[in-house]
């Protein structure tokens, strides 16, 4: 059994399964099928695969047109292009119309490290979270990604699925029961709550282990669905531990940290510390090096927890 895998691989594999099960599943691609892994689907189902070239706006419009006729289109590109190059098409022609389009993007967050800022999708969740009707999901590992793609296909309505380029460690088993909009408590703890998603989840679990050695019991909540947000879990955690640290491979503006702060300030205000890119662009570099450089590494999570506990 593999110990780690890129979640984009899970997307590619699950698409083939969906293609076999449901003849209405079609794929629209913008010339990066080898990278987004839609090439697996393309080789099995060439008549249901439409490569539109480097043209994401048209890609989104074609997906909208296909969905309006009852098909289930998955449109793929990178997070940075899928959220911004065709931003208005997603807002007006997929979300406003509430069409059954799945926007499935690779290279979420800093995972395309070496490619640099142009290819790092670090504002996508902030941009898309304000669009009514859109569900936003970033699966945590390979197994959850397969389950999430399956779930997204049977969910009726627009979904944004965000995957990693690089391998992320396996946390979940193959039989994971994934539900859109449901948080997963990965670790119990009474002193502080770490809320996270995607590729950062594994680092949060490492941080919790380090904190445990200091006698600090950190609860870890995995929040793969950024929208609709599992507000109940967040409020309950705030009531139980009274201190929250959010950790995301994304800008701290507009993403998970903002979403958690919005829910808590309206329902149960407690101290919140947000970890992520702090209003800055990153640069080219190895993924792990970038996490350290921009304050998203395990050590940063540990110190943020210690800091907030002093103020509690």
């Amino acid at each position: 059994m593999k110990e780690s895998a890129p979640t984009r691989d899970a997307y590619g594999e699950q698409l083939v399964i969906l293609g076999k099960e449901n003849k209405n599943v079609v794929v629209v691609e913008a010339d990066i099928s080898k990278s987004t892994r839609t090439c697996y689907f393309a080789s099995k189902f060439p008549d249901r695969f439409f490569n539109v070239g480097v043209a994401e706006q048209n890609e989104a419009m074609i997906a909208a047109g296909l969905a309006s006729c009852g098909l289930i289109p998955f449109m793929s590109t990178y997070a940075v292009f899928g959220s911004m190059r065709c931003c208005e098409q997603i807002r007006t022609f997929i979300c406003y119309t509430n069409l059954n389009v799945k926007i499935a993007v690779s290279h979420g967050g800093l995972t395309p490290g070496n490619d640099g800022v142009t290819h790092q999708g670090t504002v996508d969740i902030g941009v898309l979270r304000s669009f009514p009707n859109l569900a936003i999901i970033m699966p945590t590992d390979f197994n959850m990604a397969k389950a999430a793609v399956k779930e997204a296909a049977s969910y009726v309505g627009p979904v944004y699925l965000r995957f990693t380029r690089d391998a992320v460690p396996l946390i979940y088993k193959e039989d994971i029961n994934f539900k859109i909009g449901k948080a997963i408590k990965l670790r119990e703890g009474k002193d502080i709550t770490i809320v996270t998603f995607g590729d950062m989840t594994w680092y949060c679990l490492k941080a919790a282990e380090i904190l445990e050695k200091d006698g600090i019991a950190a609860e870890v909540i995995d929040m793969p669905t950024l929208k609709p947000l599992d507000e109940k879990s967040i409020i309950m955690a705030a009531k139980e531990t009274g201190a929250i640290v959010t950790v995301e491979d994304h800008q701290i503006i507009g993403g998970l940290g903002s979403a958690v702060a919005e829910v808590l300030s309206e329902n149960h205000p407690v101290l919140v510390k947000r970890i992520g890119l702090k209003n800055t662009f990153a640069q080219s570099g190895e993924y792990e090096v970038l996490l350290k450089k921009y304050g998203l590494a395990t050590d940063n999570i540990v110190s943020a927890c210690r800091e907030i506990l002093k103020k509690k």
């Binding site: 079609v26 008549d47 249901r48 439409f50 539109v52 070239g53 043209a55 706006q57 048209n58 989104a60 419009m61 074609i62 997906a63 909208a64 047109g65 296909l66 969905a67 309006s68 006729c69 009852g70 098909l71 289109p73 208005e88 098409q89 007006t92 022609f93 406003y96 119309t97 509430n98």
Partner: protein
């Protein structure tokens, strides 16, 4: 020449004349329908005190021909999966479309007076979830063609024989996404897709030539490997003929470049840029309707 031959000839003449008569009835009927649509559209815009009369009037004859001669649709079953699709990519011209949909019976004509008002089924720009008979939401320019490509591809996947028609405006030819869609329609050899360009040569800020020149427009589409026709977009007979030709084209998508006059039918609106998005006042409205009825 034998008697028999003569007789055959006479019969052919009679049939020919019958066909000619049929056609002239059809053309006259469609002209009358176009008049009605123009009247309804202006009434709606006048009542709403906002809307886009210029582009509605330029598209009136094309809409009349599509909705009252060509489209294979069922107003009682707007979501019928085998229906022809129609997208008004130049969504701001929707008053003329709403008038046609009401006349076809998709909804009660009393709705027309609610255009742009709160809780109306007739939004300022077309909404596929609020108005029966609308296949795609539009209004943000340049996007309708790509949606049409998706619908035409869906016909292929679902093994259906419907046509997808898209009405384009000339201002939206400025949008890059439209040319992305144009490339993709020819890549996928979509001969079940027919675009009609309402080429009135005016956009919001001025003429196409002043704002962003479109010529040579036919050459542009030819170079994208489309089948191209150019016609007078107010000649009902020419519109009918060009759509018949487009339907028979094989292996490539088709565009009909219809030369039109913005504000067609109302002298003081014709070719005047200012009437792109402005409602007539009471006296202008009365005069406009008088002119349309007289034509």
């Amino acid at each position: 020449m034998t008697a028999n031959n003569n007789m055959d000839h006479d019969i052919a003449d009679v049939l020919g004349n019958q066909n000619k008569t049929k056609r002239s009835y059809l053309v006259n009927d469609l002209k009358e329908i176009a008049k009605l649509l123009r009247t309804d559209a202006l009434t709606m815009i006048h009542t709403a005190k906002s809307g886009h009369p210029g582009g509605s009037l330029s598209a009136a004859d094309i809409i009349a021909v599509l909705y009252f001669h060509f489209l294979n649709i069922d107003p009682k079953n707007p979501k019928w999966t085998d229906r022809d699709r129609f997208i008004m990519s130049k969504g701001h011209a929707c008053p003329i479309w709403y008038a046609a949909l009401a006349e076809k019976g998709y909804f009660d004509k009393s709705n027309l007076s609610t255009l742009r008002k709160i809780d109306s089924i007739l939004q300022g720009h077309p909404d596929m979830n609020k108005t029966p008979g609308i296949d795609m939401t539009t209004g943000s320019l340049g996007n309708g063609l790509g949606a049409g490509v998706g619908m035409a591809l869906a016909a292929r996947v679902l093994k259906k024989s419907y046509y997808t028609y898209i009405l384009l405006g000339c201002g939206e030819l400025n949008e890059g996404v439209l040319w992305e869609a144009a490339m993709s329609a020819s890549k996928f050899k979509l001969d079940n897709l027919i675009a009609i360009l309402d080429y009135n040569k005016l956009q919001l800020d001025g003429t196409n030539d002043e704002i962003m020149p479109t010529e040579p427009v036919a050459d542009k589409w030819l170079s994208f490997n489309w089948h191209v026709q150019r016609i007078n977009g107010h000649d009902i007979g020419k519109i009918i003929d060009s759509i018949n030709i487009a339907k028979d084209v094989k292996g490539v998508p088709s565009i009909i470049i219809a030369d039109t006059i913005k504000g067609k039918g109302v002298s003081f609106m014709e070719n005047v840029c200012d009437w792109h998005g402005k409602a007539p006042d009471d006296s202008q409205y009365v005069e406009a309707i008088r002119q349309i009825q007289k034509n």
